[in-house]
Amino acid sequence: MPLQNHEEIFQKKVDREVRIEPRDWMPDQYRKTLIRQISQHAHSEIVGMLPEGNWITRAPSLRRKATLIAKVQDEAGHGLYLYSAAETLGITRDEMIRQLHVGKAKYSSIFNYPTPSWADMGAIGWLVDGAAIMNQVPLCRASYGPYSRAMIRICKEESFHQRQGFEILLTLSTGSDAQRQMCQDAIDRWWWPSIMMFGPNDDSSPNTAQSMKWKIKRFTNDELRQRFVDICAEQVKILGMNLPDPELKWNQERGHFDFGPINWDEFWNVVNGNGPCNKERLEARVKAHEDGAWVREAAVAYANKRKTDPRQATAPSSSHFEAGQSLLK
């Protein structure tokens, strides 16, 4: 079949909301876009464990500690769902990790900001996870089946992340002056980087139109950002705190909050590797990978040894099934 027909059939399927599955024909550029987007998303989950992992040993109570561990563990899981989805497109896990480690693949710039106070765990949950959810919910309907399924699973789990974050801030907001100050300070530092998470303005986001035609994206960066600002502008009142934007104001005519200009120089600066923690984050990832090499090698050696040892040939877990099978004979 000529390529033209393939493209036409593909686009018609997408238009009819038929999901594309791994072995279906797809344009090379669709495949590449997905690999870039999904792997970038996977890397973000994995690198995103670092700023929060920073606080596990210093969480203020056992309850907070258990929650934080569960959240960081979820993020590892989310990274795995997404790496698996990307692998269905034909790229290997090792290649994705290599691209991250040499700096070729990006991850969300938000994780290049430091977490100097406990309140940052609250602000990350409320704002960073909140922005991520805003981005991710429409991705549950992405045209590529494995990506959409991974996102559904992630969104189900992500809601607790945001709620636990808001609860941390809520507790601080009713505390001492110092605690309230800590809460406001964290919001001040995370607000602008969070609304940058939606990416460049629509007029400087050249790939958006194609991604929307392919139904990878359902809303533009600015649409999602506006929705997020509208929601947060109300939620912050419950905390009795302020968002650090003097131009934030309800616009009756538009039915939305107006907000001040975003510092895109800062955004691109961090994307291009010059944020406060870029170097530290990447070094931590590479070190973890290198320090873990012996574990991976030992696991392979152990598996190979078991394979060649006939006494170990049957995995213990299959015994019930086999017992059932022999009863049926």
């Binding site: 024909w25 569960a70 563990q73 896990r93 699973r153 877990s317």
Partner: protein, 124 residues
């Protein structure tokens, strides 16, 4: 380096699904590359079928099982797990779907609604 291999896990065309193909088993490569891919199936509760939930890398069935528990059942989503090495899965080809499923296309009489019966007829 060819990053985009034109075959996909869990859906390998038969001629490629050979245990000797090093690009599939990862043998001969170092580290995590040598960990094969496994497809994970989970029974969410007694009485329901196992359902495919995703995949992961592991050196052997036992590790695949433990990783599947950690990755896919953190919130009690399962009471039973199957793990199958991806290279053992054979899949139908979507390009052949039209002819492959053709035999069922003209047999509406397999459905109960095909039969024209009076409304008075009860319990059927």
């Amino acid at each position: 380096m060819n990053l985009l291999k034109k075959f996909y896990y869990g859906d390998l065309p038969e001629q490629k699904a050979s245990a000797n193909d090093p690009s599939l088993t990862g043998e001969g490569r170092e580290g995590a590359a040598a960990w094969p891919l496994w497809e994970i199936f989970i029974r969410s509760k007694q009485g329901l079928d196992h359902k495919h939930v995703g995949s992961l890398h592991a050196t052997d069935a036992q590790m695949a099982m433990e990783n599947a528990r950690d990755v896919y059942t953190r919130r009690q989503e399962g009471v039973s797990i199957w793990v199958v090495e991806s290279r053992h899965v054979h899949a139908s080809n979507p390009d052949d779907a039209e002819s492959f499923y053709d035999p069922a296309n003209d047999k509406v009489y397999r459905h109960p609604t095909f039969y024209d019966l009076p409304d008075e007829l009860k319990h059927m």
